[in-house]
Amino acid sequence: MSGYLSLWEQYGGQMLAAFWGNIQLAFYAAVASLILGLILALMRISPVPSFRWVGTAYVNIIRNTPLTIIITFGVAVLYGVFTWQLSSDFNLNFFQIAIFGLAIYHAAFFCEAIRAGVNTVPQGQAEAARAIGLGFFPAAQNIILPQALRGAITPIGNTLISLIKNTTVVAAGSVAEVSGLMKTMIEFRPDQGILIFLTIAMFFVIVVVPVGLLTTYLSKKLAVAR
């Protein structure tokens, strides 16, 4: 026990900072990828064939590319080769590239989650909207998406959970976050290896469980009565 306490003395500050890093990564990436995912979903259901084509191509390419590859590409190629600078601060730059990579990747999954929600909306709703003269965007905004998002809460929640856990992958881009720190901690304190693992695992459980509970609650509460 005293060993575990000394671990906290030694790494506590870094751990909290790293946890906070993961939470920030998850938050910004979630906001960005939800917006991008919504745009992609609209493209995939749009009446314009070329938009549908772009949306489909994006999803099929990005969804089938490992996240580690995307993050490594961001850091090694976008930054390393093309000297992409999202921020003049060295660490912040990596951090933002990581958010960019996470957002690009998860947008494909949010798009598909939203599209699955759109498929739960009966065809007649869209037909009725068109029949009173609503165009694509007013119909999507007032009728289709409000119902689709309620139907998509569970898959959106699942993607959000994946995203939170996938923030550990950006260790590949040398961003300060917990899985990178975990490696360092175990290297220097192998005596506490199991407890280090459990501490960090517990952190994710504590963050992710409420997301799951919230989505279950919301999907029941907001279900559209037919």
Binding site: Q125, A131, G133
Partner: protein, 256 residues
């Protein structure tokens, strides 16, 4: 079979004109050279066995179904391709569906005000006043704050009629409006439609309700296998059908 373009025999203006329309679903020829003209204030009832193309024809008039050949005009204007022009024209054509299709995420009042607010750019108090008038007219004003799922089928369908009327359409299309209703609710919807017909609304009604056809129709269109095979007054159609298909159709109704 077709009426001269621009006007009808009695001189009234043509609201809907369908000329030489063909449509295929893959190898299936669902609409075969359809010609039809509907004058202002006219009530045309489309009858025919299942799969005869009557619903499909009805849905082509506001382009919920596309056509392969021919032309459709509403109030003289050629039906546009997708886009803003089509949305504008659809606003002029009221549509009532078999399955009501009330917006499930909107209250009864919001279902009726949505079109006037978003398409006509009406102000909210004005749109609500109009909606309440129309809901009162179809007899469901007291349900205005409920959600569609809380209403009976007959009430939902009457709200759907009010929603279509709120756009002040030039013509109303009814696509089997009572087919999804329990028997005891059919009359309340038909009564609403009959009073609408008496007020001079131009209507195209696809239905299996022969009583309604007799009572409200100015003209019967009988379709079979994607074709219009007979076109006459209700009196003529029910007492003296000309074609074997129509005779066969009517005999089946009577023997049941």
């Amino acid at each position: 079979m077709s009426t001269a373009p621009g006007g009808r025999a009695d001189g009234s203006a043509t609201v809907v004109s369908v000329k030489g329309v063909n449509k295929h679903y893959g190898p299936l020829h669902v609409l075969k050279d359809i010609n039809l003209a509907v004058g202002k204030g006219e009530v045309v009832v489309v009858l025919g066995p299942s799969g005869s193309g009557k619903s499909t024809m009805c849905r082509t008039i506001n382009r919920l179904e596309t056509i392969d050949e021919g032309e459709i005009r509403v109030d003289g204007e050629l039906l546009p391709q997708e886009g803003k022009a089509l949305a504008k024209l659809r606003a002029e054509v009221g549509m009532v569906f078999q399955s009501f299709n009330l917006f499930a995420n909107k209250s009864i009042l919001e279902n009726v005000t949505l079109g006037p607010l978003k398409v006509r750019g009406m102000k909210k108090p004005e749109a609500e006043k109009l909606a309440l008038e129309l809901l009162a007219k179809v007899g469901v004003a007291n349900q205005k704050d409920k959600m569609p799922a809380q209403l009976s089928g007959g009430q939902q369908q009457r709200v759907a009629i009010a929603r279509a009327l709120a756009m002040r359409p030039k013509v109303m299309l009814f696509d089997e409006p009572t087919s999804a209703l329990d028997p005891e609710m059919i009359n309340e919807v038909l009564d609403t439609m009959i009073s609408l017909a008496r007020e001079g609304m131009t209507m195209i009604v696809v239905t299996h309700e022969m009583g309604f056809a007799r009572k409200a129709a100015d003209r019967i269109i009988f379709m079979a296998d994607g074709q219009i095979v007979e076109e006459s007054t209700p009196e003529e159609f029910f007492t003296n059908p000309q074609t074997d298909r129509a005779k066969d159709f009517l005999s089946k109704l009577i023997t049941h």
